[in-house]
Amino acid sequence: MIELAGVSKIYNGIEALKNINLKVERGEILTILGPNGSGKTTLLKILGALEMPTEGFILSNGVRVDEGNAEETRRTTTLVFQRAVLLRGTVRDNVAYGLRIRNLAGPEIEKRVKAALSLVGLEDLADRPSKGLSGGEQQRCSLARALVLECNLLLLDEPTANLDPESMIIIKQVIKRLSERGVTIVLATHDLKQAQELSERILLLDGGEIVESGRPDDLFLGQSSDMARFTRSENFFSGESRVLEGVARINIGGGVEIHGALSRGGPVNIHVRPEDIIVSNERIVSSARNNLLGSIFRIEDHNSIIRIKVDVGVVFTVQITRRSFEEMGLNVGQEVYLTFKASSVMLL
């Protein structure tokens, strides 16, 4: 339904995208996976006709998109930004915005807004001022504002990044439901598990280039060096696994052994999601099998969510809410315990 041919994009002399060739098929969920700065957002903006390529061209249903007809493409395609941007007024005003532009009748707008809000679980907040919403509610509001348009192509930029668990679950459900309805979805993420769960096809983007593409299982199971390079950045480890009493003990180097609920022995690639790890000042006694002591060497602020890099011999990335972060009074250099269940260890 939309196709990029030899697309490059240069911003201020920096090549954000290099020679992208890509065909999005009607009805599929395509995930663009890549680290921060790999060009995911730029790619989505070009697919959404918000940016024009420096080189190459876009075909939308076989028609070449240019400055002149970009508006038509934008009427059938919509992008949900990574950071929720809300307009003044109420939640309802926000969701109705695109419908008003399309000059729909009042009752029709009312009906569709209501349906969209109930889909994302915001029906009770319809008359709240948009600026008073929490981070997760804002993101759901902006998703509702996009899906209410019933566009053929929905582009989602990191739809669940830095969200509270409730909002994350709702958003994932919505994506699945939309896909069932036949909406074509392209979503960008750096979350491996999400890519694996949601999509039928994954593109691995690195340095503005598509370095791998294929079905999720093929990518994760194969010995793709590009995949490995990407995943190294966040809780991706390779090591030797020994299975004892149904638990795999995986030596991932740096003197660190991880317990995983795996049955495979020998060399493995594993991943632990940052949000599955608990941070504590004291050692926690629990059923969780992994308990590692390390020191914080970097803190990244993502508004409501904080990402912390902890060196326990190898580097783990941990994600916690701002509230817990502030309550615990964490600082760079501080010693903390990382705790996670064996079942949180994913085999790739």
Binding site: D93, R100, G106, I109
Partner: protein, 326 residues
């Protein structure tokens, strides 16, 4: 929906306000066929005498008077640029140049009074009751000794022109005086200049109208030290813009107004204006005086200061047969 309604309402409001505004402005600006634009010197207008003349004149004529109150210099510029139909000024030398350049015709002297040298009541320079030129000479001597300060208008107005003339008559170069530190230039209107002189306890040259007003209001305590004498005579004239230089100028209306100014009624208003407030007149009518010779000395002074080749308006600068000079 709310947004669209809001947009429509605000657009409608803007349109209504704009239309209403233009209507209001139109209704405020008089629409009579004849607007006579008179560029006038501030010392005449600011006294308020022209407001009274305007009322009396407009009651009798289908002409709407538009007074633009500016300095004599700017008044002449206005007329030269075609922005005025006539001027009321008080700088004879510049009036002659104005006519010589072909911009003005049918000059008529309408009134006179005296400039005054005012200064602090204790008069540190000791010029009280001296003749004007003698007073200036004494003043310069005292000022150079640090006992007096002079504030000049310095704004190229009629009064400033007069002041420069007086210094020249007394034998001083204004360009040289400007370099001396007791000689200060206000660069302002008469009222402001008086207030500056008040602050400095300085001497200055003023027209009587403005001085009396400021003195009456208690804004200045400066006293008139030299208030008469041939050199201080201040002559107000009306000049119509030459229709040859500006065909759009309303020449007929200008003549009608000049005729009114020199009529008995106009002259009476000029003489009586301000008597009830100041106990003396601000302007002296001139027509009667020149015609009857009732005060030959003053008449001589007026002729010396305000006539060119023995007449208030030489033949070549007269236009049409209006009986102005009979």
């Amino acid at each position: 929906m709310r947004n669209r309604n809001l947009t429509i309402i605000s657009l409608a409001t803007i349109v209504i306000v704009a239309l209403g505004g233009f209507y209001l402005i139109q209704s405020m600006g008089p629409n009579e066929p004849h607007n006579l634009v008179v560029s006038t010197t501030t010392s005449l207008y600011d006294t308020g005498v022209l407001d009274q003349i305007e009322e009396a004149f407009e009651a009798k004529n289908q002409i709407d008077l538009y007074f633009i109150s500016v300095g004599t210099g700017l008044a002449i510029t206005h007329a030269q640029r075609g922005d005025a139909d006539m001027i009321l000024v008080h700088a004879p030398s510049r009036e002659l140049a104005f006519m010589e350049d072909g911009y003005g015709v049918n000059r008529k002297i309408i009134a006179f009074n005296y400039f005054a040298i005012v200064g602090p009541g204790d008069d540190p320079a000791g010029i009280r009751e001296k003749s004007p030129l003698e007073a200036l000479e004494i003043l310069v001597g005292k000022a150079r000794g640090g006992d007096a300060i002079w504030v000049s208008r310095g704004d190229d107005s009629g009064t400033h022109t007069k002041e420069k003339g007086l210094w020249a008559q007394a034998g001083f170069e204004v360009s040289a005086l400007r370099e001396e530190d007791w000689y200060r230039e206000a660069g302002s209107g008469m009222g402001k200049t008086l207030q500056i002189a008040e602050e400095y306890e300085a001497y200055t040259l003023t027209d009587m109208g403005t001085y009396l007003k400021y003195s009456e209001e208690g804004l200045v305590t400066l006293e008139v030290l030299v208030g008469a004498g041939e050199e201080l005579i201040n002559i107000y004239s009306a000049i119509a813009v030459n229709p040859d230089s500006n065909p759009d100028a309303d020449f007929d209306a200008a003549i009608t107004f000049i005729e009114y100014l020199v009529s008995d009624e106009g002259q009476t208003i000029l003489r009586e204006y301000g008597v009830d407030i100041y106990g003396r007149s601000l302007f002296n009518p001139v027509v009667e005086l020149l015609k009857t010779g009732s005060d030959p000395t003053t008449a001589e002074w007026i002729e010396a200061a305000g006539f060119f080749d023995g007449t208030e308006c030489p033949q070549e600068y007269r236009k049409g047969e209006y009986g102005l000079y009979n």
